[in-house]
Symmetry: D2
Subunit: 150 residues, 4 copies
């Protein structure tokens, strides 16, 4: 385990920052803790995160709220861009589009989200993402546009 | 306060369902409880929800995760469509697009989201939404497409 | 009428460039000529363009191809951003989303598209647009994200 | 060559309709004629169309107007859905999103657009598309949502 006191995030590439965050013992609070997001895989241009649905993820119709898949997709698509950036280069998400394919029950279904870069340029990047359930069925997919600050 | 045992949601219009849900004492768990969503206003074709940012809403960059505004926008835009539907008519969100305009700190900022229908047809509907911070500055905006089941 | 030889577009604001282009006698070829686009109104943060549908705008189903409304919306939304830029500032469209509400016959229907800026920042801008037919009915609507080069 | 008088489009699957349209001698006017769209490949769930840029495709900045790629992407993504539909089943495009990656000169560049279905359900379908230039570089990409009428 790594302590946040012993690492210099500013000197790390995006890939190193994200891999360090995966194993950091005392990282600051993060929406991933609130939702139970697990970081399954982080490589150059591709990340895989997952979570398990819970009753408190429900929308008023009783199925998993669309915000859960939107949060997963925003995370994996943004992080896939982040993995491609050198040390000192920042980014922010400009827009996100999500298509919802299949409703997900809130009773403990494992969702797995994969984000992959499509294009990383000098000042902007795009990425796509997909969410599948524990039977491998497509639940949602999306695309995003990020701004890059060099 | 209304008890969920004494109401027949299936006989209610969408507007009645949502207004009842606002005041129901023993409603089932809901993502709104997890995130602290408050239902400020519900009328025909327009709803206003809010929440206050918390440290556990952070993204890895330390600002409010884009999933929070996506969840708010999905909620207010979907519910704005729901308010226009008669009893027995259902809907689902097909897609959602969010533009992010301004980063939001996680230290207790009140975000207010307004969703408004653009078009409600026989089988599909569209709506738009905006999120502003406690100084009235635009934080995010979006559009959605819903399918309607009559 | 203005001749393109007597104007210095680089010294003009975006609003001046577009107003000059409206009345320029010998401007270079432009997709607006191919599609019959008319520039109805150009002001700071808002532009209105129109065109009349023709049989050669048909999709394989026999109605006006979605590309026509996409082209109109891309034009009015991008130009609405352009009207807000000072001389020497450029922009490009990063992404475009269009919702289609109503099919349009190809037999000479006048479509009117209005683009309005939502947010113009230092490095990015967003805008929205709507297309109505000659009876004022909503045909399509959209949003866009632009990058600004200062 | 096939004559439109000798075919019964209503009895054909979507794939047959599109393949017939490719070779029909006297088909009605079509936006593909206006823009010079060539139908390169049509199979189940995937279509490839192309065109060559011309000076009259210019936007006011002098590069190919975003509407050209939007038209190509709307065509290939919608038609990829159409190829999966049985005889008598119709569809319409609900929404379209396009990301623009690279500006394209108007001096005769060949653009090739590929549309592929992501999900085809009972009442809705989604597809994605990419446009590359004659050097294989990504120019634009997009996604779409269609309604299906069974």
């Amino acid at each position: 385990m790594t302590s946040s006191e012993t690492v210099d995030l500013a000197a790390m590439s995006g890939l190193e920052v994200l891999r360090t965050a995966m194993t950091m013992a005392d990282r600051p609070p993060f929406i991933g803790d609130l939702l139970g997001i697990e970081l399954d895989e982080i490589e150059h241009g591709k990340v895989v995160f997952g979570l398990t649905t819970r009753p408190e993820f429900a929308n008023p119709l009783g199925t998993t709220h669309g915000g859960i898949c939107a949060t997963l997709l925003d995370s994996v698509m943004g992080c896939s861009v982040h993995t491609t950036l050198e040390a000192g280069v920042g980014y922010t998400t400009l827009e996100l589009k999500v298509n919802y394919i299949r409703a997900v029950p809130t009773n403990g279904r494992r969702l797995t989200a994969t984000g992959t870069t499509i294009h990383v340029g000098r000042t902007t990047a795009t990425a796509e993402g997909r969410v599948v359930d524990d039977q491998g069925r497509l639940v949602a997919h999306g695309t995003t546009t990020c701004a890059i600050f060099r």
